[in-house]
């Protein structure tokens, strides 16, 4: 296939943007079909998500979730592994966070944060390790096994919350609140010394910076280390990687471990940074949104940053919509599905006409 048909900038910006526009247009049609006004919906979403520092506090909080789950899917994608298990890995990561925060008296928030990150990453990686191993050694279809592990994780969490971690005097399946000392620094706490006023109620916190640092680290890992090269080589061509002496078991296992660890770390934000206790729906579908984020960001650790921000905006805007209109929150699932469909599967539909257009332009020039 001719890769020079289109300049690189067009490939990484125009193709996703046009796909996104098509997905938005179709979502608008769905909104019209259920008798609502798509323009009013868009205005409400922008106002609700970006119109105040309160809105930004939530938008950036969700962005943090999607940065980590998007990274998780991206790293696995680079090895051509489709990890749909981010949801389950994050749930089990949440268990790791809860155990570390409930049973060890950390002296202050940042030692607790470091421990929680380590525990969630370990738990998430362990949950991803089994499907990874089954794929590498037994050839089990990783898409099906990771989905099964989502269901199993949900049952595991349900059991832990209703039998093990629930405080004796409480009815709902959730842990007790963590100690106040473990409250993560929110954006307001960080921006205040700089003289910037920021709403105190938005839950965006230091994990945003951890997630951004993770993006940079993953970029360095993928493009500046031997392991990253091996993962990418394996993803491009398994026979070639095999011929170059790259062990497929090693690549699959390491890619899945890193992917699971990143998905697990997302729980630090949504458990420690959010409600300060582990609840059943701690992940809220962020593991699945990670797929759309990774596809939009072309599985590139930096490319997923704008994609995560977009979905953070959609998620927060969607919550506002559910309050102000009759459009339910599940609208975001439709948008997410359309983004996956157009940027991931119908990629050629957008790409071919664009390539043809650039060929004509080049011939003119």
């Amino acid at each position: 296939m001719n890769t020079r048909a289109m300049p690189r900038w067009a490939d990484v910006t125009l193709v996703p943007l046009i796909s996104l526009l098509i997905a938005f247009a179709l979502s608008g049609l769905v909104i019209m079909a259920i008798g609502e006004d798509p323009v009013r919906a868009m205005v409400l979403m922008v106002r609700g998500a970006l119109g105040s520092s309160y809105g930004w506090g939530y938008t950036l909080y969700y962005t943090t979730n999607f940065l980590l789950t998007g990274l998780a899917v991206s790293i696995a994608f680079q090895a051509r592994l489709f990890n749909i298990g981010g949801e389950g890995q994050a749930l089990v990561g949440g268990l790791g966070v809860a155990l570390v925060c409930l049973f060890i008296p950390w002296p202050n928030w940042w030692t607790g944060l470091v421990a929680a990150i380590a525990a969630s990453a370990l738990a998430g990686a362990a949950w991803a390790a089994i499907p990874g191993w089954l794929q590498a050694r037994r050839g089990s279809h990783i898409v099906i096994t990771t989905i099964m592990f989502n269901f199993i994780a949900f049952s595991l969490l349900n059991y832990m919350l209703s039998h093990m971690l629930r405080p004796p005097n409480s009815m709902d399946p959730a842990t007790a609140r963590f100690a106040d000392a473990l409250r993560l620094r929110r954006l307001a706490d960080i921006l205040e010394p700089l003289g910037i006023a920021f709403s105190r109620s938005g839950p965006a916190n230091v994990m945003l910076f951890v997630a951004l640092a993770a993006c940079v680290l993953c970029w360095a890992l993928m493009w500046r280390t031997r392991l990253g090269f091996e993962i990418r080589a394996y993803g491009h061509s398994q026979p070639a990687a095999h011929y170059a002496g790259i062990s497929s078991v090693r690549v699959v296992m390491l890619a899945m471990l890193i992917s699971g660890a990143l998905a697990g770390m997302m729980a630090v934000n949504s458990v420690m940074g959010g409600p300060q206790r582990l609840v059943m729906n701690a992940v809220e579908g962020a593991g699945f949104i990670g797929i759309a984020v990774a596809l939009m960001g072309r599985s590139h650790p930096i490319g997923i940053v704008p994609a995560a921000l977009l979905f953070g905006f959609l998620f927060q805007g969607g919550s506002e919509l559910a309050i102000e209109t009759r459009i339910p929150r599940e609208m975001i699932v439709i948008i997410q599905a359309l983004v996956i469909l157009f940027t991931g599967a119908l990629d050629n539909m957008v790409r071919s006409p664009l390539e043809a257009l650039f060929m004509i332009l080049r011939r003119r020039a």
Binding site: L156, F288, L346
Partner: protein, 321 residues
Amino acid sequence: MDLATIVQILDSTMRLATPLLFACLAGLISERAGILDIGLEGKLLIAAFFSAAYAHYTGSAWLGLGVGILASVIFSLVHGLAAITFRGNQLISGVAINFLAAGMTVVVAQSWFQQGGRTPALTSDERFNRLDLPLAGAVQDVPVLGPLYSQILSGHSLLVYLGLLTVPAVWYGLYRTRFGLRLRAVGENPASVDTAGVSVVRLRFMAIVIAGVLCGIGGAYLSTSLSAGFVKDMSAGRGFIALAAMIFAKWRPWPALGAVLLFGMLEAIANRFPSLDLGIVTLPGQFMAALPYILTVVILAGFVGRAVPPRAGGAPYVKER
């Protein structure tokens, strides 16, 4: 465990295996033609919603079934557009279809019925009701065979028997007709089919439309027969379990029936015993609920033998230029 309990479990095995059977055969036909179909789950779900909704509006389970099939076939065609026409990634397309169904059903259900993403409960006319096989009453008292026939085989909805008939139909279609031969060839070596002057694209589209119809019936069964109405996410991973059953059955129709009966029985046992006392330990309800998913992983791990998929599965066909 007494005989009555065993009969009860086997009876509900038949019912719970049926949606799996339709989805499994749908996946089998699609994959035999070289198109991976992760979107079975979504097609079951969208068909379940539309058949329940239209059964409610029209008062007829049959019209509901028709609309459910239509919805499922439309989703199949979207998959075909992405996977066949535009040669996109079949896994990603299937995942998108699953999310599209999950979101669409709730958004539309909320807009039509305002009941938190469900349809109103269906009355008996709007559902497929139980059907007694001939002589079911007469042979009831014959030992062993009597309860087997009159209680386990008889007394299910029409769609259960349709599912059982679909197995030999799919077998015959795949192995005894020219269409079936070509279909299997297009999943193994599409270039050879193309050389013989048969359209690969046409064959593959036919396969996924058949898969759409089967998923549509399976979905309609979920909401208009197994339960009385649609509930959010009611397919509950059945599309994926069906895929596992298909792999377990090594892409063959008769073993597929055996595989889905196994999974159906597991679900029936989990339903019958919310928590299972094994003497030494008591398995909690959450473990029993996760059991079908755990068994799926165990079976996929290939502890039951080697499964070789159709060779051209997942690869878009590019005609030589």
